[in-house]
């Protein structure tokens, strides 16, 4: 068990390896990180998951045809902005222009 995981997630930690899900659920690593950031942030702040989920619903409704994780990213940004954890300008300044080497 990894102790630094949010406790809710750690609760699910006792099953052996259902790794064979038949297909990947992420198209790119940033999608997985977007998922992890949202889950971690909601847990850290003690918010109900709906605080994020309702934003995701709105983001998908805003633009139903864009890729799913773009809506996810938009929902994450709206949550972060509304909670005043960051500003649009702050995010602009922090945006990288190229991918760091792995």
């Amino acid at each position: 068990m990894t102790t630094e995981l949010p406790h809710h997630i750690a609760l699910m930690d006792d099953a052996p390896l259902p790794r064979d899900n038949g297909e990947l659920v992420f198209d790119a690593p940033w999608e997985a990180r977007a998922l992890a950031i949202a889950v971690t942030l909601v847990e850290k702040l003690g918010l109900p998951w709906d605080a994020f989920r309702l934003r995701l619903m709105d983001a998908i409704a805003d633009d139903p045809d864009r890729p799913y994780y773009e809506s996810w990213g938009a929902a994450l940004e709206s949550l972060v902005i509304e909670l005043e954890l960051a500003t649009c300008a702050g995010l602009d300044a922090a945006a990288p222009t190229e991918r760091p080497p792995l």
Partner: protein, 202 residues
């Protein structure tokens, strides 16, 4: 399985950073710099990839097939019965288990986003999140299922469960014929993720 999503693939130049990718990286940077989040994201991702998935749901189903009392508890209070096996957490707080019978086939969708029972099924497959699946599952489930390779006989009612609200649904498939002598452990291997969403019949 016929997938209905568009494949965005890896056609980008490897060094080219999509705007959304840069935005997510910026959010991460700001939150980490402010000390709001400090956990190892890669560990969270690995956790989802390694420990949360449909094997958990398959254990629930196999247990319900072999223990009538557990099956009754599972249908009466899905969340509690699933927690008995140690599974719970985000997107699994209000579980309702719907049972397939000779007369009824159940199908799960989230019409508004991608609500899905993470603790028992893991993260949703791409097609589950696609606009086509989300709309057609409600409008024409029988035709959609047929396209996905699942023929539901005409005399079997299809019930569609929309998990947009609080509730997350898990389909309890029918135990296949010819499995009477199988152990619970062996039965776990019979249960597929898609059968627990309702897009496949075992």
């Amino acid at each position: 399985m016929t997938t209905v999503e568009h494949d965005h693939g890896n056609e980008h130049h490897p060094d080219e950073l999509a705007p959304i990718e840069a935005r997510v990286a910026a959010i991460e940077t700001v939150l980490v710099e402010k000390g709001i989040i400090d956990v190892d994201f890669d560990a969270v991702v690995r956790h989802f990839e390694d420990n949360v998935g449909p094997l958990n749901g398959a254990k629930v189903v196999a247990h319900a097939w072999t223990d009538p009392d557990y099956r009754a508890r599972l249908l009466a209070d899905g969340t509690a019965a699933i927690a008995e096996l140690g599974f719970g957490g985000p997107e699994g707080d209000h579980m309702v288990v719907v049972e397939n019978t000779r007369d009824v086939h159940n199908l799960v969708v989230c019409t508004l986003c991608s609500c899905y029972p993470w603790p028992t099924l893991g993260l949703p497959p791409k097609w589950y999140k696609s606009p086509a699946y989300r709309s057609r599952a409600v409008r024409e489930p029988r035709a959609l299922l047929a396209e996905m390779g699942t023929i539901v006989p005409d005399d079997v009612e299809i019930r569609v469960w929309d998990s947009s609200a609080e509730v997350r649904y898990l389909v309890l498939p029918m135990r296949p014929d010819g499995t009477d002598n199988m152990t619970e452990e062996a039965l776990v291997g019979v249960v597929t993720r898609d059968s627990m969403i309702g897009v496949e019949r075992l």
